[in-house]
Every structure is written in C-alpha cells, then in structure tokens.
Symmetry: D2
Subunit: 382 residues, 4 copies
C-alpha cells in the first residue's frame, strides 16, 4: 500500500510474520502452530463476530445508523454496564480515543495522562489532531499506571500557570495499559475522585478492557462508571472483532453536556459508516453471551501459561507482573534471532541499559491455543 | 445510537425505511420487493465482497497493512487503471476525500469545487477539519458540473487577492456528481489542463466512479489520469462493499511529493485499521472480474428503466438527464405520501419555487432488480 | 520584508503610493497634498492616540493586562456603550474577528455571513484557522448587506441537512460593510431577532463602526446591543489608532458562557501583548472625548465631499450609495492611469462586465482634508 | 479586561506590582526606586524605540508592509547578522515562535525541545495551535539546556516508532533559556549538526538573544547561523520595544522552501499589521547603534550586580549560574513577605522539596539602575 518512503511501523524491519498455513481447525483454515505473538490485532475475526456480519447482510436498511441493530446498542450496552449509556461505534481505537477526548476538552485545554499512554505514544498525533491542538500533559510512571499521589501537584501547578498553560480538563487512563498492568477499581475510584474534584472528566482507554476485567474479576460496571469513569473507549477489535470500538458515555451530569453534538464530531472526522449496521453488528456479537469477556479470559490464561513456562528459564526476566494478555520478557539476543528464524512474531521494546538481552512483548489472544504457547516455550527451551 | 438531541440526517423525519422482509433470494434473506431507493448505501454487501471477507479471515497476518492482500493493492489497481499507482484504503468516502485533499493543499490554501459538491454540502465539515481550516471556494452551476469557462476568472481573482485570500491549490471534481450527471472525458481533460496550468492538482471524488464509467463507456484510465486526474477517491461502498474506499495517487511529478507521508495522515486521522486485510479484501473483490463495473452497469440500467417508466407519467418532471444511477424527479405530494405509506424509501430534495409537487431522489444499485423498479412504477401509476 | 515569491496584496502591482512629503502641518511632517485614498489604514496615528502612547510610557507596570489602563477598559467601554461589557484588546482586526468567532461556534459549527464579508474575502482564511475549520456559510447580496428575508431559508436548509452540514451557530454582520453601506438599527434588530430565535449569537464586525454610527446618527448602544448584537469587533486602527481593536462582549445570558476562557483564546493565538498597557492606551484615547466618532464624522464628510464632486463628472458612475467613508466609482481607464501618474493611490475592484472603465475604491479618513479631496477632484476634472 | 473567571497569570495572587511613582528621570516620569523585578516585560518602551515610533508617524504609506521602513528590514538585519536573511516582524514572542514553527513542521510532525522551553510551558498551547496539532516532544534537563548526547536516542526511538509517532522535523532551542543559562556557540553548533544530519531544521527562540550574546561576547552571526541556526525568533520587546519581535530566516537550501508563503501564515494568524511601519520602526530602532545589545549588556550587568550582592547573604541560594539577565535565588519566606510589603515585584517558582525558603526569579532590564539593585540588596540585608 501506498508510499514506499513511509517508515511504517515500530521495529518493523525486525518483524517476520509467521506464514506457515496448512490446515483447517476450529473454523479457520489456519496455521498449524500459531506463531504470531506480535499483537492481538494480527488475529482473524472471531467466529461469533463473523457470523454476525453474515447475518446482518440482509435487505436494505437505513444508512448512517438508522438501522435496528444500531438502535439497539444503547439498550444492550446499558444491560452489560448496568446503567444508562449512549454508545457511538467507531472502527478504530485511535479514532475512538481521539473523538472522545475532543468532546472532553476545549482546543485551549489539555488532557492529563501517563507518559506511556497509547494516546501519547502510539496514535500518530491523532488526539492532538482531533482535539484541535489541545495538549497531552504527561506524568511519568514505572509501570504505565498513573499514581494518584502524583496528580494533585500537577493540577496545582497547572492552575498556578493560569493562561500560560493549557487548562487540564480531562484525565485519560488506560485499562489494561501499555505495560499490561491493571488499575484496581479502588485506584481508579481514587483517581476519578481527584479528577472530579478538580472539574476534570475521566476517560478510560479500554482497548483491552475485557482483559483487565478478566484479571480483576469485577463486573463491567465496577470496572468503569462505578469507579468514576465518565467516558469509555470500548475495545472490540482486539477482543475478536474486525474493526469495531465504541465510545460509551455513562450518562451523568458531567457527560450529558459533553456528548452534545457528538455524532457531528464522528461525521466530521470521517468515522460515520454509511452501512452502519456492520459496525453495530460486530459490537452486539461481542456482547452476546459475553463473547468479549470469554475471549479475554482465554487470552489472559494463555498469557499466564506463557509466564509460567518462562519462569522456568533462568535467562528470562519479566519486569512487570502479568495482569492481562501481554507478557514483557527480556531474552538473550541469540535466542530471539532463533525464534524469528523459526517464524515467531513479536515486537522488540526499548531495553533498559546494562541489561543483557532485549525486552520483547508477547501478546496472546482468543486465537492463541495452549499448544501454541507450549510450542513457543519448547522453542525457547531448545 | 448516541445522543438524542442530534439532528441526524437530511429529511430524516420523512423517511420510512422498507421493512417487509420475507424470503431468500439470490443469496440474501431479503425483502420480497426492495422498496428502499433512498441511496445506494442502504444496500447489503454484495456476494463477491462478502465471500472475500470470509476468505480473508484465515490465520494471523501483520497488522496495519503488513499483509499480502494489502501488499497486492498497488499492482492490482495499477492493472485496472493501466498505470503506476499508490493506493491507500480508507473505510469511508468522507475520510477518503478529506485526507486526500489534506495532502493537496496547505492549511493556508484552498480547494476549488462545485457548490453542490459532496465535500461542500454533505460531509459535515470534514474536509475543512482534515485540511486544518483550508477553504473550499465554490463555483455555482446548474447541474453540479464545474463549467471550464468559469474557472479562469476565479483563479485570476484569487491570484489578485494575494495573501488576503487563501491560495487555490487544488481542483476537486465529482464523477458522477450530486445531480447524477457526468463529465465527459474531454471536459475533464479541459478542466485538468486549466488546473495544471495554474499549478493546481486535480482530485476526483469517485464515490460513484463506476456508474460514471458505465455511462461513458470509457476505461478507468480514460476516465481518470488520461483526462488529467492526479488523485482519485475510489468508491467501493456504494459499488457493493461494506465500508471500503481508496485514495489512489496516479504517480507523476505532481503527485509524488504530495503523497509523501500520506500514511501518517491516515494514521493520524484514525483511519488506519489494525486488521487491515479486511479493508483491502473488499477492494480486491470489487476489482476481481470487474465486479464494481458490472454492479454499476446494472445499477445504471435499473435507473434507466425507472426513467423510462416515469416518462409515461404526465405528472413526473425530471430536471436532469439520467447519466448514472440517480434519478431526480418531481412528483405530486399526494403521490409521495402514498409511496411512503406503501413502504417506499427516498429522500426529498429542495424543490424549485413555483413548481407543484416535490423533488425526490431515487437511487438504484446492484441490489435493485427489474421487478423492484416495476413495482415502484406500478405503485406510481396506481 | 520576507519572501519575494508571495503574491502580497490585492492589485498590488497597480498601486503606486503617494510619496510627495514636504512640510509640517497639523502635527505631522507630511505630504503637501495627501493623495493616498487606498485605505483608511495608510494613515498615521492620530495625535490623541500618539499622545496616549507617550503618556503610558512611564514606569514599570504588570504585564499581560495587569495594569491600570487595562483594568479601566471595561468601565470606560461600559460608559460609552451604556451597558455592562467585557473588553479584550487585540492588535489587528483579522485577529479580533477571528478570535471572537472562535468563541461563538464549535469546530463542527458554522457562521452565517454575507458573501462579501471581510471574514470571507479578505482575512486570508484566519476565521477558519481560529475556528479550527468551522465553516463560513455565505449569502450573496447586491450591496454587502444580508437581507433578513434570505436568512430563514438558509437556516431551515441547514437544520434539515442534520449532521451532514456544519450547524450554523452565529450570524456575523459587518457595519459599515465592504461596499461602504450601512444597516439601519431596525434591520440589525430584525436580523438579530431571527438569529436569536434560531439559537445563533450575533457578531458585528465593526472595523468601521464609527463611520456607520456617524452616518446613522445613533448612539453606540443603539447601533449595537440594543439592536441585538452580542459581540462586537470594535475597530480602532482605521479610526486613528496604531494597531488596536477590541472584542467587546455585551453581557447577557448568551454571551456569559461564550466568553468563558476568552483570555486563553487570546493568549493561545499569540495576541496577548506582554506590554499590554500600550494596547489599552490606544483604545482609551479613542474613546476619550469621542475621538473615534469625531474622526469618523470627519472621514464621512470628506467622502461626501468627494461624492458631491464626482457627481459633476458625466463619466463617473457610483453603484452604491455613500453611507460611510468609502466611495466606489467607475472611472475611465485613461483617467485612472493619469491619476496614478499624478501620485494618487487607490485600489481597483472587479468591474461588472460590459461597463466601460474600471471600478475603484476611494477611502477617506480623519487624515483627509478638504483640500486633498478638492485636489483629487480637480485632477479628475482636468 | 475581560472575563473575571480567567485564572490569568502564573502565581498572580502573590504578585504585588510596585506602584510608587514620583518624579521624572532619564526621560520617564517614573518610580523613584524601580522595584519591579518580575520580568523584563514590565518595563516601558526604551527612548530610542519611542523616538522611532514618533518619527515613523508621518504621512500616508502603503499598508501591510508596503512601506519603506519595512522594505529596509531585510537589508538592515542582513548587515547585523552578516548574511542574507528574510525578516518577518510580529508583535508578540508567542506568535513569532508559533508561526515560525508552523513553517518548519507538518501537522503530522513534531518539534523536539527542552521540557522547560517557553513554547512548552508558557505559551498557552499556541505552538500546537499554529502547528495544527503537531506535537512538542520534550527532553528533560537540569538547567534548561538540551544536552547534545540526549538527542540521538530520542531521534532513533522516534524513527523506530514509524507512523505511530509524529515525525520530529525541527529542533527548537532557547537562547538565553528559561533558567537564564546560555548555550555556547560550540554546543549550539553540535546540536545543529545532529539536527541537520537527521533532516531537522533548527529554530532558536531568541526572546532574550541579546542577553545571551552579551554574555557570550560573540557576534550575532556567531551566535546564530554560524552555529547552524536556520530560523530565529528575534526578541525585541524585552530588549526595549513596545511589541516587536521578528522571525528571521537565514537563507539556505533548507530554509528557502520552508519560508514559501510565510506571509500567508502571518496574515492567516492575524499577525499582519495594516499600519505595518510601526512594527518595523521598532525593530530598526533596536538595531540602530546596537541599542538591543547595549540594553542587554546593561541588563546583564545589573543581574551580575544583584548576584554579587546576594552572595553576601548566607540564606541566599542560587541554583543556576547567572548567564543572562535572570537571577534565580532561594530566599526565606519571611524575607519574601517583607520584600512584597516593601513594594517589590517578582515571581515565585516551584521550589525543590526539602529546601527551606522559596525559589524566586529576579529579572533586570535596560530600565534597571544600579541604585535599584542596591536598594533591593539593602532591603534584603535589612
């Protein structure tokens, strides 16, 4: 696709995708061993979502969301989250985060977030584009989680700077975050309390919300609005969809004015599908029978199986606790080269100085099977 | 979906979508009579594209376009358009137009277009958003087509205004345009010649390019770059896809610098799918065996069948020549009410003053069958 | 200054500024005959404003508006306009209009204005930049004035377009406008009434407000908020200042929420002077003893003197009634050439087809003397 | 001025401006003792600039820069900087920095700078606004200076992130910077070399360039383009002007394409004065007889006098070396209270934890006299 001079992807040159495709299994013509641990977005569409796309492909319906599937979204999400919500489907996570934030802050405002946040590091400047130049003000952390004690001093300093600094109007948190770790509902609630006290609204980037909930063992409600979250980017793509996320406003006095004209923001940013039913169908399929949560439980279990195996290798160092479906591990460079030659896919991460080896990220998904994890562990052991 | 206070759609309140769904026919469980003529985007996904989505759903592949389907796009489009191209898939037409234009003009620049153009009237301000506030400078016309003689005076006046007016840097044309009429390749070439002489690049909004080509009987090459078009928004959704358009750069000395970093613009606007294969698969399916053109030929024929029938009704006035798959017709208000009660879907359009009745738009598609047209005509005759 | 490739100014090549500078008169070392009628911004600073700048240049004071002169602005403007106001000084009219409009409309919104409006034709796209891509939706007119009867249909069509069209949230009027004509307070009030009924706020571009008030013979209050104006761009530069305009919010229920954080908008757009007293001093000097209005009365009288003289020339055609300090007149091309050779400065305007000669604009100011007008008339008569 | 709910200025509540104004001295009716050390922008206009404003106020001249003063800028600045330049006057430093950066980076790009940089901390988000949402990527430092060894790793990481991170296209340095320290020409040259190797252009925020040059004892050329600087924000306001900065492009192969249409950017951002001569006159007056540098030499000497005096006080801790006209000193809180009660003006700064007292900033200027410094020192000693 497109321009040859684009430096396309982080660490791309080192990434060799697995290509061994042989036989049919669980509905897919697929790799014998699934060796691509680069991300949970290298996966196909899960069977339930694909079935929903096929089922939705019947007859003429109103475009731009004037269809029955779309009309049922608010109610269905409301049931899952046990509260009144307004749901806006969007194909990509970057767009969902960005358009959500654009409703929470003025162009002269700012969003407070962790320095490692996806919105700051991995979305190509989309939040700043959608927010018309509003600023991300970042707090560094060791593990990707904003520590509540660090927030009040930043807000105080921001207030003291007056008009010289963009005014912080929202707090954006990621659950599970970029290092695979997870906020407890108590910490979320504490952060939300501080935010609300300072007139900030709270946004949750939930691209991997299911994995976080699966880890915490709490309900979607407990992990979001009951902990003070105002607006959620609900992640569907990594949970098994083709391309489907949703901005979910939990209705309250703070969110009602913010969501005014939100559909205009979606249209104006090119995110409104004319054949909108196919966006809604994916989301409904994920909610149906808790597919998104079941997929997350499975992905987490596969990540734990990987961690358990890696712990048996002296050379493997894991700097973060495994709390979702991402495993960060430092492995010797020679071993990594062997893995790549064996067809395994993963991303290298910046590695702390002085440590022998390289930090890599291994991501599991609904599509990862125990035998795939075991094969990788065997390859590492060999 | 979403906010109840949004005034969602043009003339929405009057629109009653057809809901009579009964039995299986040509692959769809579908309406016995397809009564929704509101747009070519109320239709389902055509069988070839759906098959391609299913076929693409196998195994892990690189994300963000690092997959074999995406890698084949440039070559495949190059074959169809008989020249070297760079292709960037995008889910919606609004985003495709807008991100394309953002590469052609500076934020302090302007785009020249017809006043009726989709980018000016129907995209919710997306072009201005993507272009960071660059201006659309519009020329009025009777039939939605920019008349070449009107262009040089506007460019002269723009040049004379110097820095007081945003500098026009691109000409955007729509083919087929909002009134369903079509530029001849000669007129396109004349407009492109004028544009290039004044250092403007030429963008073609081809949301219904197939319908225009089907009407003109010319090749994709003759209807685009051979007539001077530099950048095309290739329309897939209305041609039968789920959600798939493409920005196609025809490579030449003007376009090569403009497309630099184009993928960054796509990522930054939230348009880059992680599971990118499913965007590419749709486009490839449309090109395979000329599905897009065959669908367009069929849609045009259905529109002509409709025109032929309407001509037999004294009350029906058709202000524009039918040249694609859109039919504009003025019908008595009582008749329109009857049609709506019978379940027919269509949009009302602003009607010239003093004319009895109301101007409506009837759009056909690959999904419209002769019996559907005949049923509508019979309803009108009744 | 700067880049040689910029096409700097409208009709610049034909403009030869008067350069005959000889002797001192009324405080200025100045041209014997003042021949530059190109604009009211080719003039020097009027004596009262210059005296105020010198007077303000004493001692250290707080920066960014924390000075006594600035602190007195709200009260002083409040006296002149006979109501409670919030005043924000800004150096240029383009910035004042643009930052004002950015507070009245959302980025997904639109401003309704006359097609000839300065914000649409002469500000280099600044309104769109400051409004983050919000759109100007323009109504054509014969004389630069929005006709009240044309407004409701545009608002109705905009509402019916729903999310497909940016929502019109403000009406911007120009007083006096680009063709030198002036709204009556009754017409202003009628336009404001329509605007407010549709939830639009009303902005008045008053770069030449003094000239309009001088023509109408009404008070500043009658010509603005009593006629429904919510926000005014108060023009100081053309009235005699060096570089000083002001955004004036007339406080009411509509404007109070809009002006929230307005100072942030000013800072963020680079318009906040650190040595702010020198901006405020200019404005206060104009208000003191009604200098701005006296200057306007004089400028208008000089324009009328010019009109009276031109009427005696058969070849002179004046398409618009003289209502402020701008005179539009069609004169034979040979005569214009002679005027330029004699050192006269003026701008050519696009001339209606079929008319012999060229339309030019002659602008008078506080700095124009009767003998200057008479000299020009004599030159034309010769 | 304006809205009462704006939180206007950093630490404003603690700031009590000196108000003791008594008698005439050196041209000013002024404070007996000048007690306002809050900033170098609390000062009046220096006599040479005021004289130039008065001198420029003669006769009609072309507007928007079509005047002789403006026409002479390129040559005059070229003499001072000993190279070919293109000069664009702008009233405020925030606007000068922001419009300059907007020419150096694409909206999808980024600027690399020190975390403490004025563009990051003190300009209310103006750079992001002017750059249409391009990002500031910041490097932390101890003393406000980017350390050359920290740059390559950031550029490497940025390149590896590919399209996921906005591409760094410019390096912005501040001279003298926010902590009053100064880059040596060698360090500047080293930073520029790294930047140019990576296709970054180099911007210098020279709001206090004169103070830096005065400290370094090098020529303007040695301190800028000979050390690799491509574009300079030349600071005039703090050097004695009313409101006058300039964007200075040092012409080379990198800058020539970047400055294309730069005047359009100035107009579009509302920064183009119609009575442009008064902006140019200020700058010319500063250059004439090296007024800007002489003022800087004096200001620096006054700062050194202050440092010398403070060193005699055991309680005074100065964390940074005095290299320009800013003195940072930690003083006991009781003393600060006494100083404020005595009418002294200064800003409090965030103070490192565990240190007794508070960090304050004391700024000297052309307007500070030895007796003013001595009076302050005496007050502290008392």
């Amino acid at each position: 696709m497109g321009s040859p001079d684009d430096n396309r992807l982080r660490f791309q040159l080192r990434f060799t995708p697995a290509r061994v495709v042989r036989r049919k299994k669980d509905g897919f013509v697929s790799e014998e061993i699934r060796k691509n641990f680069a991300s949970d977005n290298v996966t196909p569409i899960c069977p339930e979502v694909m079935a929903a796309l096929i089922a939705a492909n019947e007859g003429s319906v109103g475009s731009y969301g004037e269809d029955d599937l779309t009309r049922s979204l608010n109610e269905r999400f409301g049931e899952v989250f046990e509260t009144e919500v307004a749901v806006f489907p969007i194909a990509t996570g970057t767009a969902a985060n960005s358009v959500a934030l654009s409703a929470l802050v003025s162009p002269y405002g700012a969003v407070l977030c962790d320095e490692s946040a996806h919105i700051n590091m991995d979305e190509g400047g989309a939040p700043e584009f959608y927010m018309h130049g509003a600023k991300l003000i970042c707090i560094p952390s060791a593990d990707g989680k904003v520590d509540p004690v660090t927030v009040p001093p930043v807000l105080k300093s921001n207030a003291e700077s007056g008009i010289l600094s963009p005014v912080i109007q929202a707090l954006s948190l990621t659950q599970a975050n970029e290092w695979g770790t997870v906020y407890s509902p108590d910490t979320l609630a504490e952060l939300s309390r501080i935010a609300h006290e300072h007139d900030l609204s709270v946004h949750l980037d939930g691209a991997r919300l299911g994995n976080a909930l699966a880890h915490l063992g709490c309900t979607p409600a407990e992990g979001t609005w009951k902990a003070g979250v105002d607006v959620l980017s609900f992640g569907g793509t990594k949970a098994g969809a083709m391309a489907a996320e949703a901005v979910v406003f939990f209705l309250n006095d703070r969110t009602r004015p913010l969501m005014k004209n939100f559909l205009r923001r979606i249209k104006r940013s090119g995110n409104l599908w004319s054949k909108h039913r196919f966006l809604s169908a994916q989301l409904l399929a994920l909610l149906q029978n808790d597919v998104w949560l079941k997929n997350a439980v499975h992905a987490n279990a596969m990540a734990q199986r990987l961690v358990d195996g890696l712990r048996r290798h002296a050379a493997a160092q894991m700097p973060y606790e495994r709390q979702s479906n991402e495993v960060f591990v430092i492995l010797p460079d020679l071993l990594l080269k062997d893995l790549e030659e064996a067809g395994y896919g993963f991303y290298r991460w910046p590695t702390p100085e002085g440590v022998p080896g390289t930090l890599i990220r291994l991501v599991t998904s609904y599509y990862t099977r125990p035998e795939d994890v075991d094969a990788l562990l065997a390859e590492i052991a060999a």
